[in-house]
Symmetry: C2
């Protein structure tokens, strides 16, 4: 039986719940990641429903079955899970105890809370990865000012403070400049009951992202490792494959991501964000962050790979075999269209049309969001014969979408 | 102004109607073509609505905004067009007088009825193409048995009778074996008030399809010409590019399709189905049918081209610049998964999973339809280094989806 899985004691046929013998997937989270899952679900013939806060949200605009509700409300979670073959997320913020209650009731929730925990809690993650012998920066739990001062001295002041939970896109991360500033900051944050950890700052040369998908049965596939360029903690550019990365180090990054996926029992897409730094014997990497869902550094796969991260995520949570991760071109570049300081007077449709005129090869993706400075509103993917060409086109195209002016 | 078009006397900015400065497209028709337009609309950030007969229809399952109604009801058409920047179709059956009333009221309806007419009425189409010097088989209007007998004699009995309107997928086409059968058939059909024409049968070696898109401003792009293989008048396989087609004849097919698009003023995707036959000086072509919408022989572009026919159709009807039609691989093959005589006991989800396991490179597309023998329920696209490889994989994969058994 191809798609049979064990649920509790009984073996049941998995994922044939709808009228056409196809599965029903409930997506919790109404952002662009859920929206782009819907694109792939439509083509696969997978039936979907989404739990959204409002009908205007990015994903809610494009699902046929929209359930309004709150992902921290158990009744709403139970309702959307009812009759679904799989429940998955476009974020990591569903309370783990509620996800576990659904699982206990026989619902297939993927990724599972015992894996998700390591994407939610940075300190637990560092401990677990470190125990597994995976490369992480030096770290410490910070329960007092004394802890912070000790870590400051140990690392010669190379201190990054992090909220162990709730941070994203650069939020919840601090870089104190002095021992005194560090102490004051820790006192303040602990006073606000924020659980803290400290990490030794990595003098990284660039950031990489190693993405894999793992299905329930344990099949794993790794996409090519990409270089990601951040701006104020927000991903702005992804370049696939990462330029100048040796085959040896690329394989090491992929193996690392596979070990994380297997070690933590992740189902679905996993992004392992990495620091690349100059080690004693050459370029080396350490884990920065984990995300257990489709990730911004994987948007390039929509146009640059046979199987996109969104299709792969659906296949993984349904325990379907994973698709080919072969690339479509020597280079693919993704550039986010982050809301600029001002919203140009030129309507978005005209900006899109201008980009299409100048660059017939550019793939414009928009999320149905209104303007807010810095907001992830869309992205542009460009495949080309070289990184230089793909990057130049994608940067210029994204610039026009954001500013209604060309780069040069 | 990038996206400005003239509507009646006034120049208006076109397609910025929604809250995000993006256009709203109303799709009339609830089949798989509308469904696959939705996939592309989501990524482009184009807002959509669909006029569907029921919530269960293929497209209605996946649109956020579904209006139940009848495409032959003027009030329903007016309601779905209200506030839309463009109205388009996934079939050619909207009454032209209603489409014209919408246009007269300032709605952008594309393709327009004065173009659509030539996809609806085979006799008008033959006359028009013939006048334009485009290659069509010998033909005649059949208003009496005498007309039919005269055409029989003229063509040495190589007669194909066609209903001038309403035929599709082999319906409305007859091949009488004798002069007497031809006369009886014509008497019967005319007695049922079916408008008729006759055409000289083409001794074709294979069928080709030349697809182009043309936007409102007149920009045209032609995809590579494909070979299409029919089964009982229904498209079953498309092979891109058509194997063994000389560059010269391929260019001639593309030029022909461009001339049809320009000559008839088609907006959107146009499929020109062609007969290839052995002419006096080598392989030659004649026009078989026209379709003014995304077409089954263009499904391969979803995975085989930078810009799919569904994205291109949306761009064209919005008067956006057209996208690159570069291919992703040396060969792409599409095989339809037409409902078999029996519906296998193996649920569809398990069939899909089996195909994914055997062929990680196969792209499975399903339309959310229940089983009916011969019904277009989905298709499989496969890109490969050679036609042979792509064809073998796509045929075997489609066979499993249909029958739950492998080909060999």
């Amino acid at each position: 039986m191809v798609a049979g899985v064990r649920v509790g004691a009984a073996t049941t046929v998995f994922g044939v719940s709808n009228a056409y013998g196809m599965p029903v997937v409930a997506v919790i989270g109404d952002g662009q990641l859920a929206r782009m899952m819907q694109t792939e679900a439509i083509e696969l013939g997978v039936e979907t429903r989404v739990l959204a806060a409002s009908r205007e949200d990015s994903a809610a605009q494009v699902f046929g079955d929209v359930r309004l509700g709150d992902y921290t409300d158990l009744a709403d979670l139970r309702a959307i899970a009812d009759g679904a073959d799989a429940v998955t997320f476009d974020h990591e913020h569903v309370p783990n105890e509620y996800a576990q209650l659904l699982i206990d009731a026989g619902v297939s929730v993927e990724p599972r809370p015992d894996a998700l925990l390591y994407a939610q809690d940075k300190l637990e993650q560092r401990r677990r990865l470190s125990e597994a012998g995976l490369p992480v920066p030096a770290f410490a739990a910070i329960g007092s000012v004394a802890d912070a001062e000790a870590f400051w001295d140990e690392t010669d002041g190379q201190v990054c403070l992090k909220a162990t939970r709730g941070g994203y896109d650069g939020h919840g991360v601090w870089f104190p400049a002095t021992r005194e500033e560090c102490a004051r900051l820790v006192e303040d944050l602990l006073g606000r009951d924020l659980p803290l950890m400290a990490e030794k700052k990595v003098a990284f040369t660039r950031e990489l992202s190693a993405m894999v998908a793992r299905n329930r049965s344990g099949e794993v596939r790794a996409w090519p490792v990409v270089e990601s360029r951040q701006d104020g903690g927000i991903c702005r550019v992804a370049i696939a494959p990462a330029p100048g990365l040796s085959a040896e180090l690329a394989r090491r990054c992929q193996d690392l991501a596979v070990r994380v996926a297997e070690g933590l029992g992740v189902t679905g897409v996993l992004a392992v964000e990495l620091f690349e730094f100059e080690g004693e014997t050459g370029p080396d990497v350490a884990v920065n962050e984990l995300a257990m869902r489709p990730h911004n550094t994987g948007h390039w796969t929509q146009d640059g790979c046979v199987t996109s991260q969104f299709e792969q995520h659906l296949r993984a949570v349904l325990d379907w075999p994973l698709g080919s991760v072969d690339t479509q071109a020597p280079a693919t570049v993704m550039v986010n269209t982050l809301g600029g300081e001002d919203d140009p007077a030129t309507p978005m449709a005209e900006r899109v049309a201008a980009v299409m005129r100048k660059y017939p090869q550019a793939k414009v993706h928009l999320y149905g969001k209104d303007h807010r400075p810095g907001r992830k509103m869309g992205h542009v993917n460009v495949c080309a014969g070289s990184v230089e060409e793909a990057l130049a086109v994608a940067e210029d195209a994204a610039h026009y979408i954001i500013h209604a002016t060309w780069k040069d």
